[in-house]
Amino acid sequence: MWNAVLAAAIAVGVTAGCSSGKNESEPSASGSASASESGSAAPEAAANLFGWTPPAETTVIDFYQGDRDNPDKVARNTEKIHRYILDNFNVDLKKTVYDVDPKERLNLMLASGDYPEVIVAMDGDNVSKWNAQGKIFDLAPLVDQYGPNIKKALGDKYKSYLDKDGKLLGIPRGWGLLPITDFSAHIRLDWYQEMGSPPIETPEDYYNVLKQMVAAHPTNAQGEKVYALSWNDQIKINNVMGIWGLKDGYKEDANHNLTHWVNTDEGMEAARYYNRFYREGLLDPDLFINKFDDWKIKFTNERIVGHIGLWWQSWDAGHEMWRTTLPDYKDNMRYVQIALKAPGAEKAYLSPKDTTGWNYTVLTDKVKNPEAIIKFFDFMMSPMGTRLMGWGVPNLEDSGWNYESGGVWSFNETQKQALLNGTFDYDHFEQLGGNAYWIVHGQGLLEDDGKSTAWYDQNFNGEDKWKKTMNDNLKDTIYDNTARRIVFAADNPFTLVNEQVEDMVTDGFAKAVISKTEEDFVSNFNELREKANKLGLHDLEKYRTEEYKKQLALLNE
């Protein structure tokens, strides 16, 4: 008997031991550390400095943002703006991000049913998928009632965001046209000037200059090998193809028929171009392994003389780092952005612009107080709301801008001058919360003055020597790509084909680039072409063409 009692006691002990683990919450960048108690009552407030009347009860906007980001960094950068918005608007913005693939996170959220009331940065495919499950809240009636600024900001295009039933499933973010460049080739200016600044117009010119630069600087100060070009996980193959006249990875004929780069001679030439660098030992052998940070270290350590990628990457990893670390730093120790155009290409299509926006902010079926949320969204989409959300906390010594009341604002001259003379501290500025909550505001020029934009540092492009040089060099490389947006819904048979093809193309391009001989290159490229077409690339091209033509017709109406 006692044995049985003892055994039962051990069993209970084991069970208790098994369940004593602490239920730790998952990492998040919730701003709740500095937030007041959600839902706590506050006295009825009058209109605030921005003319917006804060709610009597704190509006809590608890959201997951579908961008891969570092939760600690996000928490740091949202702290001040969170406090400012809570104090002045009685709105508690609780942002959660994860350092994982957002697609993966959203799928798990949908499958588990564990998701917040607001999701920011959801792409069109996911909006469609979530809507099919009845998880998305229709915003149209609320926008009709509480969203005059939303309607005004989106203007005639508002209707294009409604689905066939007239429902507004999501409010776009990053919408509007900001006519500045994104993508280009880069050249290190001081070394380029050393060479006598030979003209660079074609990929061949660029290759020759980079090759000579590597010959002149074969190793860096630490004796490490220098390469002409590298790659990182933020570079998109489709943008590279723009140099050969392809638009976002597709060749477009006069009748708007689209052909994927894999099935074009231009695509092959682009891959061959990189392969040539590889075969001559001019390409970083770790190019397809590099994460952005790995690439940045190599770049900062002066091991990569050229770059084909986003404009800010060579700023971030180049002179922004050098000016604080190199004692003999000079102003021309930097990269300038240049346009390359392959012979025969009609134009270099480097920066596709989709004025629809990057993605959407949706309210899920768990939303408790949608009216209050829409009211704040409406403020955020107003010009002053966009300035506040884009430029961060105003009226501090280190703020980028000052705001009085009644719409009167000005840039902080000290910060502006710091930007123009290259001493601007981006890291410190980020902590004021500029664009830390990019929930619904656009990136185009604001309608009240026709020149401000939510990107603080882009407001002075005309006065900034280097930005002006970049924009002048690249002004003909921007194009409107709005009509090419396609939503691959969950029940669309091309959704899986598209994902499989994109996956295969990424891997196949990499394999072609690191081919050891011309024969290997041709064989690898043809194998990629054959496999992709076998997977259904030709059908995908047809489908994209049809959708593109439909969109063009709609936009031209």
């Binding site: 993966e104 770790d286 891997d507 394999k511 076998k534």
Partner: protein, 302 residues
């Protein structure tokens, strides 16, 4: 039935102690298995498991006819095969070597050091491998310094090295920990057999061959059967962390494939079908190996 009840009453202390474990297995291992029915449906995330359209074996057929099928199976079997071929005997050899050490302090220190890699996460191991094997890594620098190569070799960027790197890192990580089971089996060998061997003048190699290995045969067979059963478990984290677009032809295995289509892309039914297929193959392999072992060595686990 009466016999069973009598037996349970007789062994009640053991059964009571086993209740939490049985409950654990039932709740966490058997109960979730009903979810495998989505392999035969077009399951939509967020809905009930019983609400999807039934599609029979369509997802299985799609996997078999997919261009990925042969490549994924080849990679899985190759990496698992290498792991069984080299990873199974490696801890046995280490255990035999440790068993032969006479200096107890040295033996304990060596044994403890050999366990350490097992407790290092794959994320850290991947970082170590990038540092060692990257183009600017230690290995390339040594090869360059000794004039053995002209240009650095992209060990982690070329598919042909991938299986070797995975196999070697698996062995490095697990050899110490996996040797524990062999060491305990070696410790249970009757000392009288060893003494008898000494009297007969048997050498140290002879002791290993004629006494130790036959003495731990059951353990070896058990681990071999389990190893064969897990042949489709070629790893997951290591492939995910060390794989890249240039090595994908060699790095994609069943588990990463399931992860990609299930968790990343949201095709849960398709991913479940592939995983179910893997589980069925594993069970069949375990039972087959068990039968073979019983026939050949009169030893089995079931």
């Amino acid at each position: 039935m009466q016999n069973l009840m009598r037996r349970i009453v007789r062994e009640r202390q053991i059964w009571i102690m086993a209740v939490p474990m049985i409950a654990w297995v039932l709740v966490f291992s058997y109960y979730p298995m009903y979810g495998m029915i989505i392999s035969f449906q077009n399951y939509v995330p967020g809905n009930s498991f019983f609400s999807g359209d039934w599609v029979g074996f369509a997802h299985f057929e799609r996997f078999f006819s997919s261009p990925d099928f042969l490549q994924v199976m080849r990679n899985t079997l190759a990496m698992s095969g290498l792991n069984i071929l080299f990873g199974l005997p490696a801890p046995l050899i280490l255990a035999l070597l440790l068993n032969e050490l006479r200096n107890k302090t040295f033996k304990r220190v060596t044994q403890t050091l050999s366990y350490i890699p097992y407790f290092i996460s794959w994320v850290v191991v991947a970082s170590i491998l990038f540092t060692l094997l990257g183009s600017d890594g230690l290995l390339n620098r040594l090869l360059l310094d000794f004039g053995m190569i002209k240009d650095p070799i992209s060990f982690l960027g070329e598919g042909k090295y991938f299986w070797t790197i995975i196999t070697a890192s698996n062995i490095w990580k697990d050899i110490g920990f996996n040797s524990i089971i062999y060491l305990s089996a070696l410790a249970s060998i009757d000392r009288e057999l060893l003494d008898a061997g000494k009297v007969d003048g048997i050498s140290r190699f002879g002791t290993v061959w004629h006494i130790y290995l036959p003495g731990i045969r059951t353990t070896i067979i058990l681990l071999w059967i389990l190893g064969i059963g897990g042949i489709l478990n070629a790893g997951f984290e290591q492939q995910l962390l060390l794989g890249s677009p240039t090595t994908s032809d060699y790095s994609e295995v069943v588990d990463t494939y399931v992860y990609k289509y299930g968790v990343q892309l949201g095709y849960y039914s398709f991913a479940s079908a592939v995983n179910l297929l893997k589980a069925v193959v594993s069970v069949v392999l375990v039972l087959s190996m068990n039968r073979i072992a019983k026939k050949l060595f009169d030893t089995s686990i079931v």
